[in-house]
């Protein structure tokens, strides 16, 4: 105990040196927590944007559908199936869809489009479709109308409340055709989807494609997006081999790769940060050893064992690092929470570019407690490893040489 008391007193013998050490650790923790939480926050937001845009976190299809996306690979909608999926605690919602390609035609114009049959209320909860409306009204379940993408209408020279005809191939080779009133116009971030997306109420789509009560997918929303793979696996186990359960990572591997790439870049930034901290701590350790060379030699000379002296030096370093870490974590909490509530927002052309691809140009932080814990512990670990330097020097300390003027 007296060694700890002595360590505490020693810590404050050179206030500037201790302040430099603590400050370097403090800023290191704050910056690394911020970097880490910003990294996760940005990626979480990106994923949220991507999945809420269209795909959802998890989709259930008939086995083989993803490889061959045909209506013939659809499956029968079943309340029992929905119940089984919803029985998983991680699943918070299920939205049915029936998707296929068709030709949209009006007067002299015909364009290919992606027809998506949806349950309007459930779809809105998942992808906030109603919010994307720029004209007209949102769909109702029993409507025999479409909600068309802005780009598609432009290409077809159509307007709200005009009528278009859809022609395509239905279920099991049947001819699919129908005439629909344009009830709403929506704008989508992705130029690709904005030029070809067309929503129909599920019943209308099933009727057109001659696929009564059939679906191509159930889109699932999850409680914890971080556990999306485990959740899909658990749903897959429940549903068996008749269905395929795919997370967004499997459906959009390019997005996953992009995140991985950016994540690696961020890690390089963090690595530089850790290097800076290491030099800060190491520098003060060097200063301390040079300043106290005589004293350490004297303590060994009068009979203080090197193990006790090592414990003393280690305790001094640990105290400095610990205080710096705790202060850093305490300071980073309000900053991270503030940036979560008031995210960094890009403006100008960059923001427009982001929005064009359907992403909000904002960079929120993640408030996951793991950022504070892991970054705090990591900096603590760096501090502890560097604290071994004085200990190693001490092992080789020769009291006679140390006390030489």
């Amino acid at each position: 105990m007296w060694i700890l008391q002595l360590a505490w007193k020693n810590l404050w013998r050179n206030k500037s040196r201790t302040a430099i050490t603590m400050a370097s650790i403090f800023f290191a923790v704050v910056l690394s927590v911020l970097t880490s939480s910003l990294k996760t926050g940005i990626f979480d937001n990106l994923i949220k944007n991507v999945v809420s845009f269209y795909s959802g976190y998890v989709q259930v299809h008939k086995a083989g559908y993803w490889e061959e996306q045909l209506l013939d690979n659809s499956f029968a909608a079943s309340p029992q199936l929905e119940k089984t999926i919803l029985a998983q605690t991680e699943i918070t919602g299920v939205t049915p869809r029936l998707e296929s390609f068709a030709l949209a035609s009006a007067e002299m114009n015909t364009k290919g489009c992606l027809v998506v049959g949806i349950d309007p209320a459930k779809e809105d909860r998942l992808t906030h479709l109603a919010a994307k409306l720029i004209a007209g009204e949102y769909l109702k379940p029993d409507d025999n109308a479409v909600l068309a993408s802005e780009g598609l209408l432009k290409r077809m020279k159509l307007q709200l409340h005009d009528t278009l005809v859809l022609i395509g191939q239905g279920y099991q080779g049947a001819t699919a055709a129908g005439k629909y009133f344009i009830k709403g116009v929506a704008r989508f971030g992705s130029p690709d989807l904005n030029d070809r997306l067309l929503y129909l109420p599920l019943l209308a789509a099933q009727n057109m494609f001659e696929a009564p009560a059939m679906l191509t997918s159930y889109v699932l929303s999850v409680r914890n997006p971080g556990l999306v793979n485990a959740t899909s696996l658990s749903v897959q186990q429940r549903l068996g081999n008749e269905y395929e359960v795919m997370s967004w990572e499997k459906m959009m591997p390019d997005i996953k790769q992009h995140i991985q790439g950016d994540s690696n870049n961020m890690q390089v930034v963090q690595l530089f940060l850790y290097l800076l901290i290491s030099f800060g701590i190491f520098g003060t350790s060097l200063m301390m050893m040079a300043e106290r060379r005589f004293e350490l030699g004297m303590l060994v000379a009068i009979g203080m064992k090197k193990t006790k002296l090592a414990f003393l030096l280690l305790a001094e370093s640990v105290l400095a690092v610990l205080i710096g870490c705790i202060l850093g974590i305490m300071a980073s909490i309000p900053i991270v929470y503030y940036l979560n509530r008031h995210p960094l927002r890009l403006g100008g052309e960059v923001a427009k570019a982001y929005e064009r691809f359907g992403f909000e140009a904002i960079f929120p932080t993640s408030t996951d407690s793991m950022h504070f814990i892991t970054q705090g512990l990591f900096v603590l670990l760096i501090g502890l490893i560097l604290s071994l330097y004085p200990v190693l020097k001490l092992i080789r300390l020769n009291p006679v040489l140390s006390m030489k003027k």
Partner: protein, 234 residues
């Protein structure tokens, strides 16, 4: 009279590979209990090296050193640290005390290393501070004490472990006349009343004057060893 230190033909050479420096050269030395001895000689004569060898801070290249009949030349560095803690008191020229501890805590420190219980420590601290006449400065930090007072606290710390002898390396080198005289008075008194053995390395005439035995070193060899009439008996 009991022999405390018995150095048999010890030598210490530095820079053996290039131009060897014989810091201590075939020195034979006995120090008895209760002696008040000064090791004198010009700079580089080997006083401090001899003191370091006797104190177990360094090892001789040749010969052996026995403290109370125990050969310390063959001890491992770790055992030597323990041996020093229990048997030898040190007073250095300067930077002697731990700056963050009070005078009392500095003296107590050595007893904490020895694992002496609190009550026994308190009692010994009070006695020691009475002896060095610094009871009113017990709670002062080294920086609040004069050089002379700091050296008195260093003497108290050296004595706190109840050592076989005290080695003092130029203890008065940084002190003014009055402080040096006062320090020497205290050490002489402790020597007289408690029969504590003191060995100084010095070239301070004031210390040489008070010493009862003066050993003169030149180029690592003892060139004279003179016993004087005890000052405190005069």
């Amino acid at each position: 009279m009991k022999t405390v230190i018995d150095a048999h033909n010890i030598s210490k050479t530095y820079n053996k590979e290039n131009i060897p420096v014989y810091a201590v050269n075939n020195v034979h030395l006995h120090i008895n209990q209760g002696e008040f001895t000064a090791l004198v000689g010009p700079s580089g004569s080997g006083k401090t090296t001899l003191l370091n060898l006797i104190g177990g801070l360094d090892k001789p290249d040749e010969g052996k050193i026995e403290i109370n009949g125990i050969d310390i030349s063959a001890m491992s560095p770790n055992k030597l640290i323990d041996f020093r803690l229990l048997n030898i008191g040190f007073v250095f020229q300067s930077f002697n005390l731990i700056p963050v501890l009070t005078a009392k805590e500095n003296v107590e420190f050595i007893m904490q290393l020895q694992g002496i219980p609190k009550a026994a420590r308190e009692e010994r601290i009070n006695n020691l501070f009475k002896q060095i006449d610094l009871v009113d400065k017990m709670d002062s930090r080294p920086a609040q004490l004069s050089g002379g007072q700091q050296q008195r606290v260093a003497v108290a710390r050296a004595l706190a472990s109840k050592p076989q002898f005290v080695l003092a390396d130029e203890p008065t080198a940084n002190l003014d006349t009055a402080s040096a005289s006062n320090l020497l008075d205290i050490m002489a008194l402790l020597n007289k009343e408690e029969n504590i053995t003191f060995i100084f390395s010095t070239h301070d005439a004031r210390v040489i004057e008070r010493a009862r035995r003066v050993i003169t070193l030149v180029d690592g060899r003892i060139v004279s060893d003179t016993a004087k009439v005890a000052v405190h008996e005069e």
